[in-house]
Symmetry: none
């Protein structure tokens, strides 16, 4: 395998970016480190002259960017996604520094697409968007001023990925990771089943679904496991209907 | 000593910068990592509105920048200086990656001023300027496109310095891990439930239980999650008995 190949599986997903200069600068940051797959989710600005000027020699990355309406669309097909966020959230996600995350991201990227997600300059990512990602990444920063520019954060992540690539990457055991949409669909089915067997009251869901979502995120599902869980859920529904 | 104190001895020296935006962005990159001492050698542009806008919350760093006519002036009083350069030079300098250089720079900075020097956007540093520095720093980059934006290079260096200073480890969220016997008991209950709802044939169990065991092992259960799963299993059995 081409040693840089895992980078081809790495998507940089920018959500609701509002400054064109940041689009270009992010593309440039990516290309300097050998990343090329840029996804723009619902951008609040156009790819204009400023974006192109800031992209400099990375115009190809900028122009090849994939436009998506939703984050789910950008995550489709990924086996792992990590949201870069400055704030420590009251969320139960696993959180890593870029240095801790890079080997894990690359390891997964040897076999399947992986996404690193960055929120808007002003608002970051919503909790709903964060919950779609399996991990958080916190860039270590000055506690008195943690506000990295968007493209600067992309640069730091891309740099860590490149440095880590130069080290040995241990490929994951050859299990086939479930894709984002397969997991989303399984979790939907789980929720419906819990309602049907009388465990979940849709009127008072409390924190049950986020907690289960978190549990499955931590485990990291394989395709075959998704099939097993689907089988279990189906059997549970069928058993509860034998009246 | 204040653990961040070595950063107070770290100068970021920008030589003949030509884009005001880069001055501001460099100041911001510095402050996000806790660096505050910016030196501008013979800048080819003014600190204008664009510079201030890009500095964002790091206006204090930008406004406190020390203006110098020559590199020698900016290096005065330093015990160590390293020039950041993309090109490998035919120079007798020691060359380090940011990761290799950071501990050495910080170590020196505990006792004396240290400088990291960045050249102009277009021409980099002249050989004469490089020869004034003790070391070179090469940021690992894509051999096909090594051209980091100036402020992005400052961000990478500042990030490495901060990480090295902190060796930042994000503590795991304080959740209470389930104990061995609680998990063993849950897996036993899962197995009985799967038989009861008709998903598992005890005469032909195949590899189902080992596979589920492996899945739960990977996730790493918390006490509260054990309780949730027990609740789900109980609800599934109860629903299947409503005959």
């Amino acid at each position: 395998m081409n040693p840089a190949a895992p980078l081809d599986n790495l998507r940089v997903v920018l959500v609701q970016t509002s400054h064109p200069g940041n689009l270009g600068a992010a593309a440039r940051a990516m290309k300097t480190m050998g990343l090329g797959r840029l996804y723009l989710v619902d951008p609040l600005c156009a790819v204009d002259d400023e974006a192109r000027a800031r992209a400099s020699g990375a115009l190809d990355v900028l122009e090849a960017a994939v436009s998506c309406r939703t984050l789910a669309e950008a995550l489709e097909g990924t086996a792992l996604s990590a949201a870069c966020t400055a704030r420590r959230r009251d969320l139960p996600h696993a959180a890593y520094t870029p240095r801790q995350a890079a080997p894990l991201l690359l390891s997964q990227a040897t076999s399947a697409p992986v996404a690193v997600v960055f929120g808007s300059e002003t608002y970051g990512l919503s909790n709903e968007q964060l919950m779609q990602c399996r991990w958080l990444i916190n860039i270590p920063a000055n506690p008195d001023y943690m506000s990295l520019n968007l493209a600067a954060a992309v640069q730091v992540l891309a740099y860590e990925l490149r440095c880590t690539l130069a080290d040995a990457v241990i490929p994951l055991p050859a299990f086939d990771a479930a894709r984002h949409e397969e997991i989303a669909s399984l979790l939907g089915e789980l929720e419906r089943t819990l309602v049907e067997i009388g465990f979940l009251d849709p009127a008072h869901p409390k924190r049950l679904i986020p907690r289960l979502r978190r549990f499955f995120a931590r485990a990291g599902l394989e395709k075959e496991e998704v099939a097993i869980w689907r089988g279990i859920l189906k059997a549970a529904r069928k058993a509860s209907r034998q009246i």
